[in-house]
């Protein structure tokens, strides 16, 4: 047995390919090349960014090949020494550890998942975004099929592959560019969707251009700009949209607080003579005017509608008694001014229609006409027909608005040109061009873009997206918190409080995800990666999602390598009494 195995190893050892692959000098050359290539990779990352370094170096086939070559090199350096002698055991274990580690790395590359999931506060998501791109087709808004796109570094044209959703000799991808600049053009088409382009001007500052669209995933239907909410919506009834006194019931309530005591009045309780008390605090209604007006003879009521409600109250705190008048539309006003700071008031008034609190410009698309409605603090300030090209002075924050383009049925067309990525900036998106299809002339689709057309009564969409994959469960973000160091604004912690939900939304588990405190569920691990906080919008947490089949190999290989390096070093140090070098 021993003879046969030693003969085998002798034969193996004498093969020239084996001797070359196992040679130490080749190992030195391989490690040197790897070091040089890695150094270039980090320089690329420093000049551009991590995506660029991945595209140019770490995700290239030849980089995998180099690592595979290193794997063979290490493998054969051990094989050629088989069977190992006692003093070579440590050497063998170090190299075995490296092999297992590299095997783990290949395992991750082949079967791992490394993506991100973005969840706004109060919502749940199961869609993981992956760093790859696909061309997807939708039929009547339902996903049909997709083809993966290769992220290459050079532009290319010719037949670059099929378009999903068309079997056989259908449309083809005819051109691709790695980095593009996108020009968007809107043009009227009979089966398009409403698009409006407007400019907002506030004071002396530069005009802010907005483009809103309905039912158009590439364009938003609402945006915040110049401290306004601007939105575009379909309008069913023009008369209802333009009616500034809609018939949703108005509401009024008020609360008086004095130290720990408080009394509350709902609308129905505002009847003259009604008194409420809590401890020493006593508040009585003297007079209630639903639609008050200040005339020559003081306050007078105009109508029974709750339009400008005012209430006259008698307040007593034990120490003092006085009369107070409050107005629903002016919640900060006190008839007595600052004379009674010990008592605080909270007045909530919602007029008819329940209009928005924050300044809002609502645009309504009604057939061929465009309507606008300005709302603020629960009031509809104005509603009117919009004339494109005419500047409108809005009764909101002193903003002027001007609608440049109004297309009731339009199509948005992207046109892409190749650009060079700029150092230090985000990479421009790649773009492809699809041709030979029922949509006519070849069309560009940049990453994040799409276009649609109608075909035999169905609507089809082609979209260039990041690849997404669905988790077998969902994650709901209950709340997101940023903690700070005392006395500073420096972030000390980021925490996402989440609930794991099943595909029907039923809660399975709750967890707190923070830096260094990941959540593990169903073979996936979730880490706090980033977040987005903007005024007026819910916080959005960004978690990285990971599944790594190579993980056990990596841990095993690392452990083996480190322990055996220690073992090797201990053996060497024991020999220190020998003559140096």
């Amino acid at each position: 047995m021993t003879t046969s195995s030693s003969r085998k190893s002798r034969i193996l050892r004498n093969l020239p390919i084996v001797r070359t692959l196992a040679s130490l000098k080749l190992a030195v050359v391989t490690m040197g090349s790897l070091a040089a290539i890695l150094a270039v990779g980090t320089l690329i990352e420093s000049r551009y960014n991590a995506d660029m370094a991945r595209l140019l170096v770490y995700d290239r086939w030849w980089f995998d090949l180099l690592l595979a070559f290193l794997f063979l090199n290490i493998l054969f350096s051990v094989l050629i020494r088989m069977p190992l002698k006692r003093h070579q055991y440590a050497f063998g274990c170090i190299h075995l550890g490296m092999l297992v580690l590299l095997a783990g790395a290949f395992g991750t590359r082949l079967g791992g998942l490394d993506g991100t999931i973005e969840i706004p506060e109060g919502s749940a998501s199961m869609a993981v975004r992956l760093p790859e791109t696909v061309l997807r087709s939708y039929l009547d808004e339902r996903f049909e099929s997709e083809v993966p796109l290769d992220r290459s570094l050079v532009s290319d044209s010719g037949d670059l592959g099929p378009v999903p959703g068309f079997p056989g000799n259908g449309p083809r991808i005819v051109q691709s560019i790695p980095f593009s600049k996108i020009y968007q053009k809107t043009s009227p088409t009979p089966d398009g969707t409403p698009i409006v382009e407007l400019a907002l001007m506030a004071g002396e500052s530069e005009p802010i251009a907005l483009r809103l669209a309905l039912d158009h995933p590439a364009l938003p239907s609402r945006q915040d700009a110049a401290s306004l909410h601007v939105s575009l919506e379909p309008v069913g009834s023009v008369a209802a949209f333009l009616d500034t006194t809609p018939n949703i019931p108005a509401a009024l309530s008020l609360e008086c607080r004095h130290g720990k005591n408080s009394v509350e009045f709902a609308l129905g309780e505002l009847v003259p003579g009604r008194t409420k008390n809590d401890g020493m605090l006593e508040v009585g209604v003297v007079e209630f005017l639903p639609d008050a007006r200040i005339g020559d003879s003081g306050l007078a009521n105009q109508s029974g509608n709750l339009v400008n409600p005012a209430v006259r109250l008698k307040v007593s705190t034990g120490n003092a008694t006085w009369e107070e008048i409050l107005y629903g539309r002016v919640p900060g006003f006190r008839f007595t001014g600052d004379a009674h700071p010990e008592v605080s008031w909270k007045i909530e008034y919602r007029p008819h229609g329940g209009a928005a609190q924050a300044p809002t410009l609502r645009l309504g698309a009604a057939g061929d006409s465009l309507l606008a409605r300005c709302e603020r603090d629960g009031r509809i300030l104005a509603a009117f027909h919009v004339l494109p090209g005419r500047s409108m002075r809005l009764p909101l924050e002193g903003v002027h608005a001007s609608v440049g383009t109004w297309l009731p049925r339009a199509d948005l067309r992207d046109s892409c040109v190749e650009v060079d990525p700029a150092p230090g900036a985000a990479l421009p998106p790649p773009a492809i061009r699809v041709g030979q299809g029922p949509w006519g002339a070849p069309r560009w689709i940049p990453l994040g873009g799409f276009f649609g057309w109608s075909e035999a009564g169905h609507r089809r969409i082609l979209s260039h997206e990041e690849r997404r994959t669905a988790l077998p469960f969902g994650i709901r973000l209950d709340s997101f918190k940023v903690g700070t160091n005392p006395g500073t604004m420096d972030a000390a912690s980021y925490e996402s409080f989440v609930t794991v939900v099943d595909s029907l939304g039923a809660p399975l588990d709750t967890a707190r995800i923070a830096m260094n405190e990941p959540l593990q569920h169903g073979g996936y691990t979730f880490y706090q990666a980033s977040f987005v906080q903007r005024p007026g919008a819910p916080s959005t947490t960004i978690l990285s999602v990971n599944r790594d089949p190579g993980r056990p190999f990596k841990y095993l290989g690392s452990l083996l390598a480190v322990i055996s390096i220690g073992w090797y070093a201990a053996e060497r140090l024991r020999k220190r009494t020998e003559t140096p070098a």
Binding site: S46, N49, G487, N516, D548, G566, A569
Partner: protein, 566 residues
Amino acid sequence: MKKFLALALCMAGLSRSAEPEVRLPASVQKLDLASAEGIAVLAGGRVKPLLVAATEGVQEIRGRAGLTRELGPMRSWFALALHGESLSGQKIIYCPNKTLRKEIGLDPQGQFASFDELASNAKLQALAESADEKDRSRLRPTPLERAARETRRRLEKFLDARAGATWRLLPGPAGLEGEWRLPQEVPVHEIAVNPALVGRVEAVRNLFAAFATGNQALFDSSARGLSENDLLTDSLSGLGNGQFLRTRPAHVEAELALAKFHPFRWAWIALLVSFLAAWISRSTADTSPPKSRAALVASAGAMGLAAVFLLAGFALRVFVSGRAPVTNMYETTLWVGFGVVLFGGPLSWIYRSRALLASVAAAGCVVFVLADNLPTVLDPSIKPLVPVLRSNFWLSLHVLTITISYAAFLLAMAVGNLGIAQVFRKDSEPFQKTLAHYAYRSMQLGLLLLVAGIVLGGVWADYSWGRFWGWDPKETWSLIAALGYLIVLHGRFSGWIGVFGTLMGGVLAFFGVVMAWYGVNFILASGLHSYGFSEGGTAAMGAFVAIQGAFAAACAARHRKANPQR
């Protein structure tokens, strides 16, 4: 070794160039401020002694720990609060970046600028805001924009100091851990029920009045009141538990001791003595009896003393910060210096080698001199940790292991330099052989630690970022450094390189460490290890690389000439 000292002195010289004079009333010089140094204050997210807060604050504004050389941090800090208005027009804000100065219309030759000229500079604000905007969009600001932001930060610090907003001397309702308040922020109803709080607010007022009028007795008594007063927590927490709160807890005492005692400064002085003594005791061959036995004993003793200073320094720092001392460039530099002494001392003893002792002392000394004298590059302040670094055992272990491996490599580099320099001496081959052996052992030790550190980093990254390895520049460069040493060790094993090659390998492979340690954070400044990013020292580091490279080339040329057959 001499190169290092020359370089350090040269850099020290550069930072002492001509600068505009600072005019202050004579009264600021009057008092002895020592009694106020231990007052606890909340600054930079942490409760610390006033001396430390003042040193860091003045450092941040001025680029060094005093408005003038004579004034010192405490006096400068008081002067900023009391005479801020008159200082606003004077050139005291550190703004050394020449490109930035030219861009925003300052004299490119100067190092400082006044608050008034910077605050009204629209270009500076625009550049700094552009840096913020790029951060928000996850893009990298240009060096010019980063420099502008740095200057704006100094400007804001000056504004805070001038407004007195940096004197958070009064604990709030959450006690020591929560928000501390300025005297004017304490509500009247709290003062009314807590006599200790009244005393404290009064003492703050008196402290400034005493400084302004030069009243030493009043100053000392109010300072004592502030540093020793206990506060009744009743009014702070509303719990009514009748407990007293020590406003100057043990970690503040420890930090004051650290700030006054300067253990790391004493360490480099002891190492310098050790180096000089080892040098005096040297003889031609490393193994022959020393010329002066007393000098050798003195050298070993001085190194032992240095080790004691270092241990004391680290113990205090760890106690104050409550974490492993490896969270920024300054701390890792100290830790590497400590590692050099930790490995080199025993190795010199095991091998009975004076050459090794001298190399260890020299390398350690240079490291601590740099750490002690370049506060704008290596910031010694103890800051609260960024979220990603908080309370993690694996992380501490990972960084401690990686940086201690740099110490072994630094030792190999020092020994390597000594070894390759032997080509200029006759009959030095046996000595070179011995040195090569030391360098080889150091590299082996370093590699063991580096690989272990990289693996631990992988474990931590897997735990914290969700992947074991992600080709992040810091990860990648530590791998490149490891590959460099692996090449040397495998090259030696295969017989490609001999004695001289091993020594040279120890010197050249250290460039990989320089890049992984300094370069990624200060030059590349990209990737996920962004909490260590900083600026400055590039010229000095470039000079080191150039001089080291030239020296290695000269030795190689000489070696080739002497051994033409190789």
